[in-house]
């Protein structure tokens, strides 16, 4: 049955900003879907507020709306575009929830839009706990297998307390309904914990519903990815087994595909249940994910949950098997059946089969607890990881060790030197699941733990435990061997040991190990991911390395460009860099090169086998990259290796690659050094006559104090060679400076602390530019909303700049050109400036693609990363202008006056983290970056654009109601004007006594409310925190006092997070918000596609 003919246009909803639990995987799935639908001749309308996605590239859809994903805005888009159908299953929970709202409020019916790929009844059956239990019961009565954990549904705290007794006591699991990534769920071991977790869960759940469940902690956990077509053909694409047993969110577990410890009988039971569930739920077409717990003692199977949509796991399953779930889901949604869709990889066989693997896939989560030092690092059923790495090997040990080194994090790899510690203590530590528990287990094994002891402590399946013992035994052999003979070396490599690990064990340098290894002829081969375990020939070169016998890399004639990706997402290095890598691949392919992508992040578009000519799913370490370069050099000519687009990860390899004779193209490693090294960069600035804030470096408190005394407080301090502002702090006095130096473990003579003058009240400016050695193309100038001192990644910004004039731009352009030239950039450079008074200071320069490249590209309708890739390989800006890749005239610094204003807003993960007492973590912005993602608001004026950015990031700004204001002394003056505006818009102001006094003196009425520290009043007057919790406050303005610890502000801000009340923590954000509220209160806010914006811009440029 071919494609439906009654659908001509489809609206696809994306997943919005990257947040924990909903990340780049939805860009991957959404991009695939849009491409497939367009290839089918449909008009694709897309809405996604996240500019850092490939799917929002104007060429992916016919009409791309970078607008907030709220029912209100999506309705506007529907009214304007009148699509025939809405495909809601590829944009995560965000898209699904939005589609349900549009169904329930009658919008879909009003405009005659058909929901495809899912129906509302099925979504409810799959996601609603009550209904899903009935589904599982029905399945059990049909096939005799599968049950739900014993549970009770609760809608109030009274229900919750009563429910525990019904279940037979603690511990119990709390799961709120309809939240993504398991937000708000957790284990409660006593009533206090229960009240906290369930209280938050009831709030987070849009239906005020939580489920209490019997504890199945320690059971084996599995997932199946299934697909169904309209003829009721069902296939299981992949089975996934969690290394960490039940109790840890699957997004935070190390997971393995295929399942390793099931007999066929047990596996077929899961398969039968899965198929019965998808039928019972009624997912007509598309993919779904079902999670199971299996009792290791008797095999009792509990069906935990299902997602009736494409998920993070389905992205992983697609990469793990080569079976593109999202792509096929899109085809099924428009009417095809599985047997009508060819398997891309074999081309000969249909998609109506089940992939079989002749390799092992391991996914490991990447956490960011170092960014939230007060957060409890225990892993629970609430997902906390910010990214993941996947690795493929021919056995588990190889895949596991590759995955751990792909995480690219200190201590993520196993180490076998030094004292392991006390066995008993290590075993106790291993009971609690944490980031890196696997390393604790390995140390316990080194300390003499038995397999049984490890199992008892962790409940990790004995087969996995034995694999860890196997790794440890090989490490022992490596340590004990007289010399590294080829057999031993090959055996170690076969189990995933890196040259670095072997070197550490043998007391050798990594490069020495590599030299020995090469001399002995021990090198990896590359195998193909082919969906069929070699039963059929594969047409798609999707490779992974293994120390096996036969390689499958075919020779080629065209020169290849190898693009190094950015590895697992982490705070500070996310999807934005993948965006640039993908663009490079597209541009270089168009320019006639064979593109070769190297990356280990399964969530991304770059690791789609369709993106580049060849894909190597490999860790981004020097060793792994050198071997790929070697393999490709045997296959054909190599034009170069691109390291500037994947962020700090590949950039860090630049010099070493060059030293190993690899042709690194673009900005040279020496130039990178000139920008990154303090001394060298200072030289560049001095030669160009550009000022930088006064600074110095020190390795001791005395040294730091001397510098601070000279340049004056406040100072910005940070360890050298860090990313994302790690450990960066604004220090206001000597006492804090002393404690900072004392606390900082990163400081050593080779890694001094940097002390900079902190520019209070400066405007921070970001510039992205291209330089080819001759000409500068100023990509865009972004003016930050928040003042300097807040990490640029966490600050909102506007492009074009809203308060800078032509003279300022001229200065920025001249400075940028001087730095690009002085450093020796060939490609992209990002520079951060601070304008303090009339002086333009240079804060730092990064000679690589920056986080803002996608934003700048979208705001100015110019593909900067594509241009950068071409410049790296020798094209000039003049040539690119002539070709049309860059505008013929002008650049991003001189946008037409009526160009739209784009506002980028950062999205923070506060609600995910709690401290060990269960309290939220503080939400104050600072020099250390903590946002996970971003949104873009675009409109003709700043106020509307800002309002859209807020709606996209946190929910709409309130247009009336009660606003609470409490600001630090230094902010009181700048608060008055916006506060008056709020009153003018009809807001009732609440304030603490100090702020209220200032407001009153300025003729603004404010109701005094009690501070949390004052407690409830004598007549039961609520404190501000109670008011927030009771939903009586609509907007919160709270700026922190200096660097103080837990003041009132902390409780207010965490309450705001818990209740999802907009909370502004800088006066600049308040000023912007007032403009936004003003825009919202003045008439209708419209929607406009990027294509329309671009047409307008291009017309204005010509």
């Amino acid at each position: 049955m071919p494609k439906r003919t009654d659908i001509q246009s489809v609206l696809v909803i994306g997943s919005g900003p990257i947040v924990i639990g909903q990340a780049a995987e939805f860009d991957y799935s959404g991009t695939q879907a849009c491409r497939v639908l367009r290839a089918e001749g449909l008009r694709v309308v897309l809405v996604n507020s996240n500019p850092a996605t490939i799917m929002t590239d104007p060429e992916i859809a016919d009409a791309t709306y970078v607008e907030p994903i709220t029912p209100e805005f999506v309705e506007k888009i529907i009214a304007k575009e009148r699509p025939d159908a809405l495909l809601p299953t590829l944009g995560g929970q965000t898209a699904l929830n939005t589609a349900i709202s549009l169904h329930e409020n009658g919008v879909l019916e009003k405009y005659g839009v058909e929901l495809i790929g899912a129906n509302v009844e099925a979504i409810h059956k799959g996601e609603d706990r009550d209904q899903f239990k009935l589904v599982v019961d029905a399945v059990n009565s049909k096939i005799g297998y599968g049950e739900s954990a014993r549970s009770v549904i609760c809608h109030s705290m009274e229900d919750v307390i009563a429910g525990v007794e019904e279940l037979g006591g603690y511990p119990v699991v709390v799961r709120p309904s309809f939240t993504m990534g398991g937000a708000g769920s957790g284990f409660a071991h006593d009533e206090e914990e229960l009240r906290r977790i369930a209280g938050q869960g009831l709030t987070l759940s849009p239906t005020t519903e939580v489920l209490l469940e019997e504890s199945i902690l320690g059971w084996k956990e599995y997932e199946l990815e299934l697909m169904r077509d309209k003829h009721d053909n069902v296939v299981v694409v992949c089975s996934i087994e969690n290394f960490d047993p039940m109790g840890v969110h699957t997004g935070d577990s190390i997971t393995v595909a295929p399942a390793m410890t099931l007999t066929d009988r047990e596996y077929q039971i899961l398969r039968d249940i899965g198929i019965a569930v998808i039928r019972e739920v009624g997912v007509d077409t598309g993919g779904c994910n079902i999670q199971f717990a299996v009792n290791p003692v008797d095999g009792r199977v509990i069906v935990i949950e299902m997602n009736p949509r494409v998920s993070r796991s389905s992205a992983l399953a697609s990469k793990a098997t080569g079976f593109p779930i999202a792509k096929i889901a899109a085809k099924l949604a428009v009417g095809y059946t599985l047997d009508e869709i060819p398997n891309d990889i074999t081309e000969q066989t249909p998609a109506s089969f089940e992939p079989t693997l002749d390799y092992v896939v391991v996914k490991a989560p990447r956490f960011a607890f170092e960014k939230f030092p007060s957060a409890d690092s225990s892993l629970t059923t609430t997902m906390k990881s910010v990214g993941e790495a996947m690795a493929i090997g021919r056995n588990f040990t190889e895949a596991l060790q590759k995955a751990l080194r792909s995480l690219e994090k200190k201590g993520s790899q196993f180490t076998f030197v030094g004292e392991p510690g006390d066995k008993a203590e290590l075993l106790v530590e291993a009971v609690r699941p944490t980031d890196g528990r696997i390393n604790t287990v390995m140390q316990a094994i080194r300390a003499g733990a038995t397999q049984e002891e490890v199992f008892e402590a962790t409940k990790i399946d004995p087969w996995f435990v034995d694999q860890l013992f196997l790794i440890k035994e090989i490490a022992d052999e490596l340590a004990a061997a007289d010399k590294l003979d080829p057999d031993l070396l090959a055996e170690a490599k076969r189990h995933g040991f890196s040259d670095q690990q072997i070197g550490e064990i043998r007391g050798l340098r990594e490069d020495v190990v590599r030299e020995v290894r090469h001399a002995l002829g021990v090198r990896p081969v590359y195998k193909t991911v082919d969906t069929c375990a070699a039963e059929f020939a594969a047409r798609t070169p999707y490779f992974y390395s293994s120390y096996d016998e036969e390689t499958e890399v075919a020779s080629r004639e065209k020169p290849a460009v190898i693009i190094l990706g950015s590895g697992p997402n982490r705070i500070g290095q996310g999807i934005e860099f993948d965006y640039s890598c993908v663009h490079a691949s597209f541009a270089l392919s168009d320019a006639g090169y064979e593109t070769v992508m190297v990356n280990c992040n399964p969530e991304t578009v770059s690791t789609d086998y369709d993106t580049s000519d060849r894909l190597y799913f490999e860790p981004l370490t020097l060793e792994d990259v050198l071997e790929i370069v070697h393999a490709e050099s045997l296959a054909g000519p190599i034009a170069g290796v691109v390291v500037q687009l994947g962020g700090q990860t590949p950039l860090g390899l630049s010099q070493a690659l060059k030293d190993n004779g690899v042709p690194v193209v673009g900005t040279s490693p020496e130039a990178i050094h000139a920008a990154e090294d303090r001394g060298a960069f200072g030289q560049v600035l001095a030669e160009a006559g550009l000022p930088a804030p006064k600074h110095g470096t020190a390795t001791t408190f005395a040294g730091a104090k001397a510098i601070a005394d000279e340049i004056g407080y406040p100072v910005l301090v940070r360890p050298s060679y860090v990313l994302g502002g790690r450990g960066m702090e604004i220090v206001y006095d000597e006492a804090r400076l002393e404690s900072y130096i004392a606390e900082s473990t990163e400081i050593s003579p080779s890694r001094p602390v940097l002390v900079d003058r902190f520019l209070d009240d400066a405007i921070e400016i970001d510039v992205d530019a291209l330089y080819d050695g001759e000409e500068l193309y100023l990509g865009g100038v972004m003016e930050h909303i928040e003042e300097a001192g807040i990490h640029s990644g966490d600050s909102a910004c506007a492009l074009p700049p809203i308060t800078l004039g032509g003279f300022d731009i001229k200065r920025l352009r001249a400075s940028t050109e001087a730095i690009a030239k002085g450093v020796g950039v060939r490609g992209l450079i990002n520079i951060q400036f601070a304008m303090a008074g009339d002086i333009l200071y240079v804060l730092e320069a990064n000679p690589r693609a920056s986080r803002t490249v996608p934003f700048t590209s979208k705001a100015t309708a110019v593909p900067l990363a594509k241009a950068a890739a071409r410049i790296s390989l020798g094209a000039t800006i003049a040539e690119l202008r002539a070709e049309g890749l860059l505008p013929a005239n002008g650049d991003g610094g001189e946008l037409p006056l009526d160009a739209p204003i784009s506002v980028k807003e950062a999205v923070m993960p506060w609600s995910r983290f709690r401290d060990i007492h269960g309290r939220g973590v503080d939400t104050v912005l600072g020099p250390e970056m903590r946002s996970t993602g971003e949104v873009m608001g675009i409109d003709s004026v700043f106020g509307t654009a800002y309002a859209k950015s807020q709606a996209g990031a946190y929910g709409p700004l309130p247009t009336k109601g009660r606003a609470f204001i409490s600001v630090a002394n230094r902010d009181k003056r700048s608060m008055i004007f916006p506060a008056r505006e709020l009153v003018a818009h009809g807001f009732e102001l609440l304030a603490t006594s100090g702020t209220a006094e200032v407001l009153k003196r300025n003729g603004i009425n404010a109701t005094v409310v009690r501070k949390q520290s004052e407690g409830t009043g004598p007549n039961g007057e609520k404190t501000i925190v109670q008011l927030i919790h009771d939903g009586e406050v609509d907007l919160i303005v709270n700026t922190p006092y200096g660097t103080g610890g837990r003041l009132d502000g902390y409780d207010i801000r965490t309450a705001a997070v818990a209740r999802s009340v907009p909370c502004l923590t800088t006066v600049q954000a308040l000023a912007a918000a007032v403009q936004g509220i003003d825009a919202l209160n003045h008439g209708d806010v419209g929607v406009r596609s990027l294509q329309e914006h671009a047409e307008h811009l291009t017309a204005a440029r010509d």
């Binding site: 410890t261 099931l262 009988r265 398969r271 003692v297 021919r394 069929c532 070699a534």
Partner: protein, 380 residues
């Protein structure tokens, strides 16, 4: 000296293909020498079922899944009383089995039953080789004193070929036995054992069928002596071109119009009984992920396969046979190989794959219901 318990001390082993390609690894299971036809199986689960499937008699099975033996060996999952494979090839055997039903390790089981295996070789390279060159004879030699390469190759080339091999009598039961119906008995079926898997009579028994399993040498008289409501022909090893006796028995059953069902070898026998040819596939279908379309409903089922031969029947038309019209009812979507036959004028059908699964998905279990329907129809 190391304190390793890793087990790298296993004796060396060599796998030698008849075209001269060799793979060096370590002994697995019993140490010694074995010969057979090299075939690969792509199932990721179900090694116990695979090893004990009589259809694998005289075949050396290469597992494409790298980890084998993880769940050990239990006493419930075997499909017959012994391991039938002639040799076993795996990449990474488990050191510690883990499953609540496990009784012993697979390594022990193989050694205990004298099955020679090899581990630690590039099984994917071997699989690709077999895919490109076709299934061929192979030898596994293990132990500390291995013959030289030329000697090993000569020995491999002297081993018998699968084409023309008549093997079902070697694996089938010598004495008849009865598998009682589970619950109320509704039907009696005579099942001709050509290498039957244990799950097949079990699937029938679940449906109220008392199954009389008869030796491969059973005559028409033996079949009808049990007064069957239906007759079943099982799976089994070897070349269907040698199956003259079962073909003649089947023809007699077709003459009488008794409801008939065949699986795998039974499908090839029906093909030959109807006058179609059979032929050897280049490298066969062995796995549990094969897409088969039921041409009567258009639905696709994911199925378990283990066949090196196939029926040569026209896909695009109904054929006239001595027993009336016949058509191809099922086809493999990967390569359009005939996967099922049915007569339109008599109650007889067969499939080339394994609806009893074990190992594999249960999608095709409805075929046993079809058999039951035929028997009900005959009764009515």
């Amino acid at each position: 000296m190391t304190t390793s318990t890793r087990g790298a001390t296993k004796a060396p082993a060599v796998l030698v293909l008849e075209d001269g390609r060799m793979f060096r690894g370590r002994a697995y299971g019993a140490v010694g020498v074995t010969f057979g036809e090299a075939v690969f199986s792509t199932g990721m689960t179900g090694y116990q079922e695979t090893l004990t499937d009589p259809s694998y008699h005289r075949q050396v099975v290469v597992m494409t899944a790298p980890h084998v033996g993880n769940t050990g060996v239990n006493d419930e999952d075997p499909e017959s009383k012994r391991i039938w494979v002639a040799g076993y090839v795996v990449r990474d055997p488990a050191r510690v089995p883990s499953n609540w039903r496990s009784r012993r390790s697979l390594d022990e089981e193989l050694a205990g039953q004298g099955v020679v295996g090899i581990s630690g070789i590039d099984t994917r390279a071997l699989t690709r080789h077999l895919r490109e060159r076709g299934a061929m004879r192979v030898g596994i030699f293990s132990g500390n004193a291995l013959p030289d390469e030329g000697t090993m190759l000569t020995e491999v080339r002297q081993a018998p070929e699968m084409k023309g091999a008549d093997l079902s009598t070697e694996v089938a039961t010598k004495e008849p036995y009865v598998v009682p119906a589970i619950g109320t008995k509704k039907f009696t079926v005579a099942a001709v054992d050509l290498g039957i898997k244990g799950m097949t009579p079990h699937r029938m028994a679940e449906r109220g069928i008392e199954v009389h399993v008869l030796p491969a040498t059973a005559t028409v008289e033996d079949v009808y002596a049990v007064q069957p409501d239906g007759v079943f022909f099982s799976n089994g090893p070897g070349d269907p071109a040698t199956a003259g006796h079962p073909v003649s028995v089947m023809r007699a059953v077709l003459e009488r119009g008794t409801p008939l069902f065949g699986i795998c070898f039974g499908n090839q026998i029906l093909g030959r009984a109807l006058g179609f040819g059979t032929y050897k596939l280049k490298y066969g279908h062995r796995g549990i992920n094969q897409p088969v379309q039921d041409r009567t409903t258009g639905k696709v089922e994911v199925t378990a396969h283990n066949h090196g031969f196939a029926v040569d029947a026209p896909l695009d038309k109904v054929s006239e046979t001595p027993y009336g019209r016949a058509e191809v009812s099922h086809v493999c979507l990967n390569d359009q190989v005939v996967e099922g036959l049915q007569l339109l004028d008599k109650p007889a059908f067969s499939v080339q794959y394994h609806p009893e699964a074990a190992a594999g998905p249960h999608d095709a279990a409805y075929l046993f219901d079809r058999f039951v329907s035929l028997m009900e129809g005959q009764r009515a």
